[in-house]
Point group: C2
Chain length 320, copies 2
Amino acid sequence: MAVYTDVNEEQLRRFLLDYGIGEVLSYKGIAEGSENSNFLLHTTSGSYILTLYEKRVDLDDLPFFLCLMQHLARKGLTCPLPVERSDGALIGELAGRPAAIITFLQGMWMRHPTVAQCGEVGRELAQLHLAGADFPMHRANALAIDGWRTLWDGSRARADEVLAGLTAEVETEFATLQRDWPKALPSGIIHADLFPDNVFFLGDRLSGLIDFYFACEDMYAYDLAVCLNAWCFEPDFSFNPAKAAALTSGYQAVRPLTSAEQQALPLLARGSALRFMLTRLYDWLTIPDGALVQKRDPLEYVAKLRFHRGVTTPETYGIT
Amino acid sequence: MAVYTDVNEEQLRRFLLDYGIGEVLSYKGIAEGSENSNFLLHTTSGSYILTLYEKRVDLDDLPFFLCLMQHLARKGLTCPLPVERSDGALIGELAGRPAAIITFLQGMWMRHPTVAQCGEVGRELAQLHLAGADFPMHRANALAIDGWRTLWDGSRARADEVLAGLTAEVETEFATLQRDWPKALPSGIIHADLFPDNVFFLGDRLSGLIDFYFACEDMYAYDLAVCLNAWCFEPDFSFNPAKAAALTSGYQAVRPLTSAEQQALPLLARGSALRFMLTRLYDWLTIPDGALVQKRDPLEYVAKLRFHRGVTTPETYGIT
């Protein structure tokens, strides 16, 4: 929720010489997005988002993310289109950081999404999976089970400070997931972080997806499980079956799940809840108070993990 | 540098029913402005700034600030125009805060202002003084000497922790200012906080003034002294005589200073440096680490105070 790196007018002017988007009319730091520095840029040719990639993003991954956006936008998915520089590159350097300009998407993210909006998200997620199927670049999911293990190694010693008994609970969970995690489900490009702040709406109409900086190759049904966690619980952490049914049926209206995917959903939702619990726990324990990064409560995802552990059938998620 | 209060889509939709500015297309929190929560709002009718006033702003002062912007804009000064609600009011309530919508100004603030830009600032400051002369509302300067005393009472006990000897230096300064502070200089509406982040440019052309939330009635030459501190020192705290000469001659091209104002300038610049040193010192000592408010270094203004203490003639500021 911050601008980590400021940009001065001369740096920006020189940077824009490599783009054919006109003169700057204004630029303002945006208090959204937890990983990078983002500016809303107005030029004589329109509105754009200028992103400076901070150290949490691996420079080697940037071509994957930006080319994916370009690929998806060309396939008709509403997502930001990276603006090409005069030399054809999508990435430049600004204020000592890798930087890119992408088109501005109208719409706003929903602090309180409705059931209808969850249905829209399901449909769009499936469209994304279909549109990404022929994307030629590769990126493994850095936050699959091995990545979770790394986060856990950095947090385990102090986990019980956050919640008594958490260490034992997570160890048991890891044992189950390691044993039962599916290996042969349909896979391809997934968004992997499709939370409400990454989906814009104009009224009930979905107007765009943003923030592809966790995109990777993994199981499609895992991406849907991420959305179950991100969209189908209320602020008091209670599960909302109507939102889950709208999400899964919206998804299946575009891309029907196989029977194996349906059956795997409760376990994938557990894994996804564990993944977000672990990133939050790691940040909670390692980021000093007073840093600009907003720290989120890991206990929200302990509650979600426990919910999914009690789910025995995909019908709970509205799959009939 | 933050959004202190978030606004959800339903709160915003209801708030906008009282305005005739169309439907929301997007709104994003801006990482600028240290006192209030600001959103850049796009609607079907254009771009606006939505401000939620946080607790540092006195609700009783809001009509003064907003009517002043309206007055100045009508006089031809480029500043944001508060948007009237259907009931004619300028202030509403949003997310439990007083809130207003003002028009969006193009341009960007200069991280490294040039000499020419300092001249533009001088001219515009004088225009503001002239345009405000017949504004009928009143507001005393809450941060005049008595206000500085209050800040100092809350900081003195720990001032030497920040800089050895600071307590004695400030006490001596207070004694001088209390004794010699001018009482009969030309006065009227001043901006009182015209720092670079409150002045927008498009190239070398000044495109607007913003943030009137310290505006009040005080000596015009004091406002110019604030600008000497805000615009005419380099990042290493060294004084830039060319910028000062551009600022003061730009000012005098529109509103010539009286001889008494010219002679008072070194003392007014000391007072203004003390004022910003004291607000920074107070924040430094009282705001907990980790708060969203950005804390600025008080020592920058100790250096400026010491510089002005050595100035014996207004010629130092380019006044001949």
